[in-house]
Amino acid sequence: MATVMNKDSWVTEKLLLGMSLPDYLRSLLTPFNFIIAAILAVGIPITWIRFTQGIGAISNLSDNNPWGLWIGVDVLSGVALAAGGFTMGTAVYLFGMKKYKPIVRPAILTGFLGYFFVVIGLCYDLGRPWRLPYPMFVSYGVTSVMFLVGWHVATYLTVQFFEFCPALFEWLGWKNWRKWSVRITIGATIFGVILSTLHQSALGALFLMAGAKLHPLWYSPFIPVFFFISAICAGMTMVIFESTLSHRIFGDQVSHADHKRLDDITLGLGQGASALLFTYFCLKWIGVAHDNNWHYLSTEMGNWFLLEVFGFVLAPSLLMFWASRRQSPGMVRVGATWAILGIIFNRVIVSMIALNWDQVDRYIPHWMEFGVTITVITIGVLTFRFIVNRMPILRKHPAYVDDDH
């Protein structure tokens, strides 16, 4: 009897946020949840069609355009935006920038979920997703950059799970496990940085194979470096974006002092992201100069390039620079969001617009492809909310208030 009781209260406390089941269900009836339900009502049937009739049934992917929205947004942008975990881990644990401590946990959670849902999104795109472990266990294509990406994303996902463990174990109340998981922090962080450096740049290196297909303004021997640097920018700006939203939405979980501290953190991050974006901006031009591609700038694709580097790299960089000097966290947030859009824009250009730019048969995503992307993101957000509402991510666990992890 007693165990049953215990179990009940465990469910109530851990999963239902201390409410009874009917109360909990009633609490779910919010406008936000209705929107989510509507998205899922579309997304689930699309998923069904995808896995019963094939990729072609819901997408405009074709023999000429084998990669599209899912690779450009779900995978390339997803991985870049999930770089926040390793960026913040490095800053705090390796560089000792303790100021950013409060946002490490949410950043790591965002990173972990980001990668996790990249893999989920990838399952729609892969012809035989159930063979995902093949490059790990069955057949090794060691000459392939994709092989490296596959291995490193899988390993990094595991590493991020370990990094997330302290919060998980605090929630479960497993004290010894938690102690153990805190101990591996530095090791996991270092390993994570190595893996991130390699696969973030490898995603760019994938396109080294597309020499004759990718427009020269984007095809560059430096493309791995471009992807890596912009991923760090994406990680930092995404942390700004995510922490702002979290503090708005889950405001009840953080103390007043934390809001103040967040402004401070935002300004610092804005400054860093601004400098990095500016470096990225300069690198892009070095790329143009290196291949002597100046004459392309006056073409139609040149316009896209100018729009990207001025409108979506330089502009947000300057805005964040200006805003952090003016001590305006609000404007830093605007700049960060802008920069995030810019990096998604870059991945979309590389994988969809500048790729096959000279072909007749161009790719435009099917609406159901957007449906898949939105569904995957939505489920990711739901998972994030589920975890933040339950585990000590934004707040500290009462038992570990003084613990510095």
Partner: protein, 314 residues
């Protein structure tokens, strides 16, 4: 201290394991096989209209559906067609600038590169350059990422987009099974104009040179596929500039696997340098913190607990 070093070693070993996989690529070169076969398509001989017997033979030998295939329907030439999961080869028509009365017909299919981009791109090694010359695909390991399709400079591989359960990449096999049986590829066998010649690649190059030398007015001084992307098993002769008949002239003669070689060889460097450097950063920042905190509050617990526990300070 010693514990720390040991843990550091552990980490580097793990890192090295991840690196080995990427360093081994140097040995994976397809340096080519001296006796491999090839095909030579002479586009000046192909008649195209009312023929397309190669398309039919290809479908039959590869057990593709013949539905909708009407060899006397010449309207198919109104558009450029590409290979698809049901057609491993297609014949297209191009306007003939030199002789407008006689359009040029060009059969295309996988080029069976000497150092195939598809093979080097595939993360599960689904492609093999066989000693006989054909580049073959293994459906049993393919996960369907379609990176091979992105990588192929000729855009030849196709995919079963409408198969949810066992989709495959599909492309010409140069009739490898027939070659093994001592027969010649089906298209070369059936072509009534002998526009497609099967033979040792080295012999075909000599033959092509001979043809050009013999009839320099008929042919361009260029064997397409001799040098392109490091050489292909399938070679072409033409009477007009190859760009007029749908062949890219921007592919260069560098084998495609070369393009990622530089990146892949940087991987082990990152794997060895990064751990050292990052550990250095960490030590440095810890030392600085200690200094800031003063000697009294220095809680050097991590020395007993080992590498990885850095977290006893605010």
């Amino acid at each position: 201290m010693s514990l720390k070093r040991r843990d550091f070693l552990k980490l580097s070993t793990a890192a090295a394991c991840l690196g080995v996989t990427s360093t081994a690529h140097g040995m994976e070169d397809f340096k080519g096989w001296p006796d491999r076969y090839g095909m030579l398509t002479d586009t000046t001989l192909c008649i195209g209209a009312n023929c397309r017997r190669c398309e039919e033979a290809c479908k039959k030998t590869n057990k593709r559906s013949l539905e909708g295939l009407n060899l006397s329907d010449n309207s198919v030439f109104d558009h450029q067609r590409r290979t698809d999961p049901n057609s491993y080869t297609v014949v297209n028509r191009f306007a003939n600038r030199e002789d407008p009365e006689n359009p040029i017909y060009v059969k295309k299919q996988c080029m069976h590169c000497n150092e195939p981009a598809c093979a080097s791109a595939c993360l599960v090694r689904a492609f093999t350059k066989t000693p006989e010359g054909p580049v073959l695909y293994n459906k049993d390991v393919c996960i369907g990422c379609r990176y091979c399709m992105l990588a192929c400079p000729f855009r030849m591989p196709t995919y079963d987009y409408f198969d949810a359960f066992s989709p495959e990449v599909r492309k010409c096999t140069m009739c490898h099974d027939r070659i093994i049986e001592g027969k010649i590829p089906a298209c070369a066998d059936v072509c009534p104009k002998e526009a497609i010649t099967f033979g040792k690649r080295s012999d075909l190059i000599l033959l092509a040179r001979e043809k050009i030398r013999h009839d320099p007015d008929r042919y361009q001084q260029h064997i397409y596929g001799e040098e392109e992307v490091g050489g292909t098993s399938w070679l072409y002769l033409a009477g007009t500039d190859f760009t007029n008949i749908g062949f890219a002239n921007n592919l260069g003669s560098t084998p495609y696997p070369e393009f990622t070689r530089g990146f892949l060889s940087a991987v082990p460097i990152v794997l060895t340098v990064w751990p050292v450097m990052l550990t250095g950063f960490w030590k440095f920042s810890k030392a600085r913190e200690r200094q800031e905190a003063g000697p009294e509050t220095d809680t050097t617990v991590d020395d007993e607990k080992g590498w990885g526990d850095g977290y006893r300070h605010e």
